[in-house]
């Protein structure tokens, strides 16, 4: 394994401060790691503009790399291309569901002009033409009879939902 791969693995294992079941790699926040002449540089792509966890993430990556023996560590932000929930890996989506948080759909399914009708709070339970209303299975019981309570939740990235079958509320990472 190369020095670069080792440094990547160290940085990639840092947990997200707000979704600690996910690593920064699962979340797609760790954009790149480079090693050269004894220095290691890690690039992070911040999520939402106002996400207060970015400073925490940068500090954690810096601390982990130093703890792994790297002396000259640089953490930098990469703003382009912007972060998107599409960058959450398959492994990340699996871990979210396992923790009771419904993973996001792919944004190609949900972008487009702002709707001029009040959308349904319940996603379709049967086949529908529009992928924007694809079913959101309950992360607890798997039933698709679920409904949105609020588009905004405890953190910038999550919406509040509830399952009408098992009656449990759950959070869902919303697409951006």
């Amino acid at each position: 394994m190369t020095t670069r791969d080792l440094a990547w693995e160290t940085a990639a294992a840092v947990p997200d401060p707000e979704l600690p079941m996910l690593t920064l790699a699962d979340l797609g926040v760790l954009a790149d790691v480079e090693t050269a002449d004894g220095t290691v540089t890690a690039w992070l792509t911040p999520t939402y503009s106002g996400c207060p966890a970015v400073a925490e993430m940068a500090a954690d990556v810096d601390r982990r790399l130093r703890a792994a023996g790297y002396r000259d560590v640089r953490v930098r932000l990469r703003l382009d291309p912007p972060w998107s929930t599409d960058l959450i890996t398959a492994e990340g989506r699996r871990k979210l569901a396992e923790a009771g948080i419904a993973p996001p759909r792919h944004t190609s399914a949900v972008t487009g002009p702002v709707s001029l009708v009040l959308g349904p709070t319940r996603a379709a339970t049967t086949g529908t033409a529009s992928p924007a209303f694809a079913p959101v299975p309950c992360p607890h019981c798997g039933d698709t009879d679920t409904e949105e309570l609020s588009r905004f939740g405890s953190t910038a990235c999550k919406a509040l939902w509830r399952c009408r079958a098992c009656r449990e509320p759950f959070e869902r990472v919303k697409e951006i």
Binding site: W43, G50, A55, R63, L116, S150, F152, S154
Partner: protein
């Protein structure tokens, strides 16, 4: 320079045996002094040296772009976002439902994040090296460059929704155009902002439909909110010379934004207000630092803690 506020010294106003304030202090002390564990628990991001929102981002100016113009432009957009974030935050503990309070605070957080990047960029581009905090907390009212639409008081919920609908529609369109801006920082803020503003617009649109197409009473309140904010819309489309030199001519947004707003209002059974724009002072408005009487008290609240404890850290 004032001495840093010392959390360990007993406050002179605290009772000699008082423990409530001491206990509060200790909560924060323990956070600040916690030794980081292997899993990162007990950490406190403040003071870690990673608070710069443009940490390690290449700050070179693109060729052909004047630093002062870019700074002036970033200040205008950053101030719009900062001041509206402050107004949205005022809904905390006052919104009709907890969910709406959370929603409005979330929207404010997005705008605050955009403001941090834009103000930081402004301080770099003009060569002054002023930080986001220098610009947010230590400028006077006439140095703020936001449009007057964002500074006027919240009014009732419908009034705030009307303002948000106007701002989010216009700012979303502007960010879309700015995603191709030659300055990589401004382009990146805009590219991410487009997606955030789409949520803001969707939220404002949904409430406009719900209130406009609700009861006669809710419809009348929504119409009154629109009538009140509409005179402030024109300023968003009136170009300041710095905007023409460094950014997008906002006049080009007028037609598509008005068309989009008219479609929402038609669907909601509301009327596009037929009102003249709010007068300027000898042609000067928010972009020139000439504001309404509402901005002063807002800034007083926004800036009071930073000014009471200059340079404080915790």
């Amino acid at each position: 320079m004032h001495a840093m506020h010392d959390h360990t010294a007993p406050a002179t106003t605290a009772p000699a045996t008082g423990t409530a304030a001491d206990a509060d202090d200790h909560v924060y002390l323990s956070l600040a002094e916690a030794t980081p564990g292997p899993e990162g628990e007990g950490r406190w991001a403040y003071g870690t040296g990673f608070a710069d929102p443009l940490l390690g981002v290449d700050t070179a100016l693109p060729p052909g772009l004047d630093g002062a113009d870019l700074a002036a432009y970033c200040l205008m957009l950053g101030d719009d976002a900062l001041i509206l974030a402050q107004r949205l935050t005022e809904w905390c503990t006052r919104a009709p439902e907890l969910e709406e309070e959370v929603a409005l605070a979330n929207l404010g957080l997005d705008l605050l994040g955009q403001a941090r990047l834009l103000l930081t960029r402004a301080g770099q581009a003009d060569g002054s090296g002023r930080t986001e905090d220098d610009l947010a907390y230590w400028r006077e009212e006439h140095e703020f460059r936001n449009v007057r639409l964002v500074e006027t008081p919240n009014g009732d919920f419908a009034h705030s929704i009307a303002r948000l609908l106007l701002f989010a529609t216009a700012r979303g369109a502007l960010y879309e155009a700015l995603s191709a801006h030659p300055d990589p920082v401004l382009a990146a803020v805009a590219a991410r902002g487009v997606k955030e503003l789409a949520y803001h617009r969707e939220y404002a649109t949904a409430w406009t439909l719900r209130l406009g197409d609700g009861t006669p009473y809710s419809s009348a309140r929504m119409q009154a909110g629109l009538d009140a904010v509409w005179p402030l819309l024109d300023e968003l489309f009136t170009a300041h010379p710095a905007e023409l030199r460094a950014g997008v001519d906002p006049a080009t947004l007028r037609e598509p934004v008005l068309r989009s707003l008219a479609a929402v209002l038609a669907e909601a059974g509301l009327t596009v207000p037929d009102v003249p724009p709010l007068a300027t002072v000898l042609g000067l408005g928010g972009r020139d630092g000439v504001h309404t009487e509402a901005l002063g008290p807002l800034l007083a609240e926004l800036q009071v803690v930073a000014r009471a404890h200059p340079g404080a850290t915790w």
